[in-house]
Amino acid sequence: MTARRMLGRVVLYALAVALLIYILGPFLWLLSASFQTDIALFQQPPEWFPDPFLTDNYRYVFTGKVPGEQGIGAVAAFTQEAQRIPRSLANSLIVALAVLAVNLLLATVAAYTFARERFRGREVAFFFILGSRLLPPVAVAIPIYQILRQTALLDTKLGVILVHSSFTLPFSIWVLTLYFRGMPREIEEASLVDGASRLRALFSIAIPLAAPGLAAIAAFSFLFSYNEFLFALLLTQSPGSKTIPVAIAAIAQNPDASYSLIAVGVILAIIAPLILASVFRGYIARGLVTSLER
């Protein structure tokens, strides 16, 4: 290897390290802060490694046991809100999984229909569904709030599931339609001639072949729903339906919550999407690519 090539390698690795620091730095600091006392966070500059290392904040979130004096403790820095974090996590997971299921079911069937069937009004229906995504969320936020109020779905997980589904389905349908269209028809045609119905062809043949695409939209719709904030903010208020982004935003805004407690909240909130994104990263990337190429 030439010296020049070595230099090039060194530069690339240096850049890679810089990138790593840029991406992971905030996460690591958050982790560190969640184990620190409030007063420790108050110094300029702060301690990078928690000293003392306390799991008090985590314990408070899960058990409600208020930590003892942490130094400057005159102002009670704990809010019940932090204890609602586990429940909000559960709400978010339920809602996101439901949205994922809705997408897998409805989007697959609809996409297959768009891809394989010829019927009157197909193009119109397709663009109708896609076009709905052009509206910015803020434009429809208030009317949707009204609709859910009038149908008594306000402040329920079901209401949020429906709204999130309506936002994720267009993209899922689009990606899957392109996916199905790109698949050769021969195998399905063969089974059709053998007497199978369209739906049967879909389930036994098309879906296994399109599994990567399905994995991609499953991941996308889960992430979208889990991370969604504006509608969750407007549509959920009580502990039984509040999703985790709403809970995090509330506690981050709460002057009565210590910064270390806030850090704990964020850490707990991001575990699920981090895991999902890591497991599905290949599919996510490929899903994006599919929608690009076609």
Binding site: P137, Y259, I284
Partner: protein, 307 residues
């Protein structure tokens, strides 16, 4: 094969009518959801925008025609919000695009350990925006921010920078948080686009003696144009709609320094309780985004059409 084709064709025609109804049935659920949660609300928003609706005085909702629009467009705050939105977009879109492109080219290297990098790069994009925003708020706080602490320790600054208390810096702060969170998507898109370019093109050019920069300028860049268009459009729309970050990072402040259109619309309805004006603003925003998308599609025509 042709027999199969003909059989399929016959099959199609025979069951055409039943097929149409059946097809519509299969696409009905998503269609209904879309209609219910996109089209109907849009109509409702249009209706609301022509009435005076105050959330604390719900009994009276007089029709006022286009007054909401006139009032909204006339005030200085709207102009400021529009300018802030434009400034923010002008700062973030190039930043995200350039960083995304740079990172993509870096990730494209087949070096040991870079697979790990390709995984990690996705992480900021996967977390909720309010989580990212809160992380950055902890980093940028004027008295206790960790980034301030780091810069202080490295000797780059003498005292903590009050990012969120100074109007210009607050905009920079939001840009920084937004960039950190958005660049992974751009990077992935560019990486995919780059990897779709046949390596033979590069090999041939290298044999002809082209250096790295020439390769980039003559092969990579032109063939990435379609990807570039997608990234630009998407990131522009995203930056015009930024809301979650603002909620936890600046609340539109200090003052109105980071009040962009999305925040202004939200505040008009939910802090100033003026639903009629909020609806009017939403429609104006929708129109603006549409205009932007159309402009992009005509100014940067993609060389490769959709197959």
């Amino acid at each position: 094969m042709r027999n199969h084709d003909r059989l399929s064709a016959i099959g199609y025609r025979l069951s055409a009518r039943r097929s149409t109804a059946y097809s519509w049935l299969l696409i009905l659920p998503p269609l209904a959801l879309t209609a219910f949660f996109s089209i109907y609300p849009f109509i409702v928003a249009v209706d609301a925008s022509t009435h005076r609706i105050l959330l604390t005085r719900p009994k009276k909702q007089p029709y006022i025609g286009l007054d909401n629009f006139r009032e909204v467009l006339r005030v200085a705050e709207f102009r400021d919000a529009a300018v802030n939105t434009a400034v923010f977009a002008a700062m973030t879109v190039p930043a995200v695009t350039l960083l995304g492109l740079g990172v993509a080219l870096l990730l494209n290297q087949r070096l040991p350990g870079f697979g790990l990098l390709r995984w990690i790069v996705l992480l900021p994009w996967a977390i909720p925006l309010v989580g990212a925003g809160t992380m950055w708020r902890l980093l940028l706080h004027g008295n206790t921010g960790a980034l301030n602490g780091l810069l202080l320790e490295l000797g780059i600054i003498d005292e903590y920078i009050t990012w969120l208390s100074r109007p210009t810096l607050a905009m920079v702060a939001v840009t920084m948080a937004h960039l950190w969170r958005e660049f992974p998507l751009a990077a992935i898109l560019f990486l995919a686009g780059r990897q779709a370019i046949a390596s033979e093109l590069y090999d041939v050019a290298r044999i002809d003696g082209a250096g790295a920069f020439a390769l980039f300028r003559d092969i990579t860049l032109p063939l990435l144009r379609p990807t570039l268009l997608i990234v630009l459009v998407y990131e522009t729309v995203v930056s015009m709609s930024v809301f979650d970050l603002l909620y936890v990072l600046t609340g539109g402040g200090p003052g109105s320094a980071t009040t962009v259109l999305a925040w202004y619309t939200y505040a008009t309805t939910f802090k100033f309780y003026n639903l009629g004006q909020g609806a009017a603003l939403s429609l104006l925003m929708a129109a603006a985004i549409l205009v932007v998308i159309v402009l992009y599609t005509y100014i940067l025509p993609a060389k490769e059409e959709r197959r």
